[in-house]
């Protein structure tokens, strides 16, 4: 019973924390660029504002346009509930594993892409096609990268993978793990619309991918989509943090362990946020035709990760 409560609580906490993490990244970038920047809790204000605003929908839009934000939000929330934040093993592990996670994320992506096409605007179509190109190359890489870890853990169950790495600390430094980390990092940048793949702060035609798809949304729909995007980033952060550097994750349901786990996961979020902010400030956006090359490179890294885990045992 306690386990279920903890599980539900950690999922909800993730939901509530997500906009804060995005705000933190934005604030850090601003500071690095010598601007004052909005405070890290600005996204919460934006969400509150958006929920209160009126929804304006194009006359060309169909039921898909109205449905998509809910599907995206629901699938991302479900994905968030599947990822281990605080404790392993969890009762929700039995509900879904690595493959379910990947499919849930993909479900959200597909619906968002369709919603971009639905109103028939030029920007939306362009954004959707670019998004699907990126997704086509990035999704297999996520699966492969985590699959590499799954092979050494002997199961695709995420909780199991974390537990296995905790039990054998030296394996965290093996080439398989490091390569998988690198591959997943690149894919995280691609899937969440971060530099060098997509600029989250721009609305210029030549450079938009994610922003182009959601251009038509307003009011609560936009709020849901933005929240889902923030949650997706959080999911990736926790995958990167907990699968590869699992120390701090609680194995028992004692208050002390949980407190440590909470502290460590927040610390990991902060570290990754800093990492992303610094990286985005340093790197320039890639020209669109070079994005497949970047993703092929990360695919190769993931493939090598699987190879070295599988064949070098």
């Amino acid at each position: 019973m306690l386990a279920w409560t903890v599980d539900a609580a950690q999922g909800l906490a993730a939901l509530l924390l997500a906009p804060g993490v995005v705000g933190l990244v934005r604030w850090l970038k601003a500071r690095l660029q010598s601007r004052r920047g909005a405070p890290p809790w600005q996204p919460y204000r934006e969400l509150r504002k958006l929920f209160a605003k009126e929804v304006v929908v194009s006359t060309n839009a169909s039921w898909l346009f109205r449905l998509a934000p809910y599907v995206v939000f629901a699938s991302t929330t479900a994905a968030a509930f599947l990822v281990p934040f605080l404790v392993v093993p969890r009762p929700l592990d039995a509900v879904g594993d690595l493959l379910v996670l990947v499919y849930l994320l993909l479900l959200g992506t597909v619906f968002l892409a369709l919603a971009g096409l639905d109103p028939g605007s030029a920007f939306g179509g362009m954004g959707s096609s670019r998004e699907m190109t990126v997704a086509a190359l990035a999704e297999p890489t996520i699966a492969l990268a985590i699959f590499g870890l799954a092979l050494s853990a002997g199961s695709t169950n995420l909780g199991q993978i974390v537990a296995r790495t905790l039990a054998d600390p030296a394996s965290a430094l093996s080439p398989g793990h490091l390569l998988a980390f690198a591959a997943l990092f690149v894919v995280m940048l691609a899937e969440n619309g971060r530099l060098p793949v997509d600029n989250p702060a721009t609305h210029l035609e030549l450079t938009m991918i994610h922003e182009a798809m959601v251009l038509e949304y307003s009011g609560r729909y936009l709020a849901l989509v933005e929240w889902a995007a923030a949650l997706k980033l959080l999911v990736f952060f926790s995958l990167l943090g907990n699968l590869f550097v699992p120390w701090g994750v609680a194995v028992a349901l004692t208050p002390g362990a949980l407190a440590v786990a909470a502290g460590s996961i927040v610390a990991k979020f902060v570290v990754l946020a800093v990492g992303i902010a610094v990286f985005e400030t340093r790197v320039a956006k890639l020209r669109l035709f070079r994005v497949p090359e970047l993703l092929s490179a990360s695919f190769v890294l993931a493939l090598l990760a699987v190879t070295s885990s599988f064949l070098a045992r």
């Binding site: 030296a170 090359e293 695919f299 190769v300 064949l311």
Partner: protein, 218 residues
């Protein structure tokens, strides 16, 4: 102690392979020279690691040679040549980047397959790195055959030599030192002659694009 040795060596070998893959991903000769230099330094680190854990003094000398010759001297010479032909970037290799990367990963898988009996026959703790060394050899071979600029081909060839040296170090803690010395000298001489030829090609053809070398057909 053994497993730390093995893990460290595998880590360093993977790094060497990754620098080799960097040749397929990045463009521009300075990037290639950089990748080669770092790869040689990592190779020297492998030699030093094996020298320490495997208690083989000669490998320290090999590591030193690697640093001096391949880590410093050759990149410096390459830089000089590259500066002269600065306008020539590898814009359009025979095989494009994305395909090259996929082919490279397939070559690494192939290397794992063919090195199976070798890994099985070895008793050394460094044996898990052997497929990576062979992977580097095959990827370098691919680089030499799929690039158009003569200078890129030279760097690819140097990486091939690095791969074979890695194979020797991981498989048998290096070949007898006197042979190693001979191999180094050969590599250096070969490199110098190739350098001369790159200049010659540029003199005669006004470009170092080997696609232009098509006078001799059948």
């Amino acid at each position: 102690m053994e497993t730390v040795f093995a893990r460290l060596v595998v880590l360093e070998s993977s790094l060497a392979l990754l620098f080799g893959l960097g040749m397929l991903w990045r463009r521009g000769v300075p990037a290639y020279i950089s990748a080669f230099r770092w790869q040689s330094l990592v190779l020297a680190a492998v030699a030093a690691t094996v020298a320490h854990f495997g208690r083989d003094r000669e490998l320290y000398l090999v590591a030193a040679l690697l640093v001096v010759v391949k880590g410093v001297a050759i990149p410096w010479l390459l830089r000089g040549t590259e500066r002269r032909f600065a306008s020539e970037r590898e814009l359009a290799p025979y095989v494009n980047t994305a395909t090259s990367l996929v082919v490279a990963s397939l070559l690494v898988l192939f290397a794992y397959a063919i090195m199976r009996p070798v890994v099985a026959a070895s008793h050394l703790p460094t044996r898990t790195g052997l497929p990576l060394a062979m992977g580097l050899v095959l990827v370098s071979l691919f680089v030499v055959t799929s690039r158009k600029k003569a200078l890129t081909q030279v760097v690819g060839f140097l990486m091939l030599e690095n791969g074979i040296a890695l194979l020797a170090i991981l498989g048998a803690y290096g070949v007898p030192f006197i042979v190693e010395l001979g191999v180094f000298l050969d590599a250096l001489m070969g490199f110098l002659v190739m350098q001369i030829f790159v200049y010659r090609i540029h003199e005669t053809f006004d470009t170092i694009d080997v696609d232009q070398l098509d006078r001799l057909r059948h």
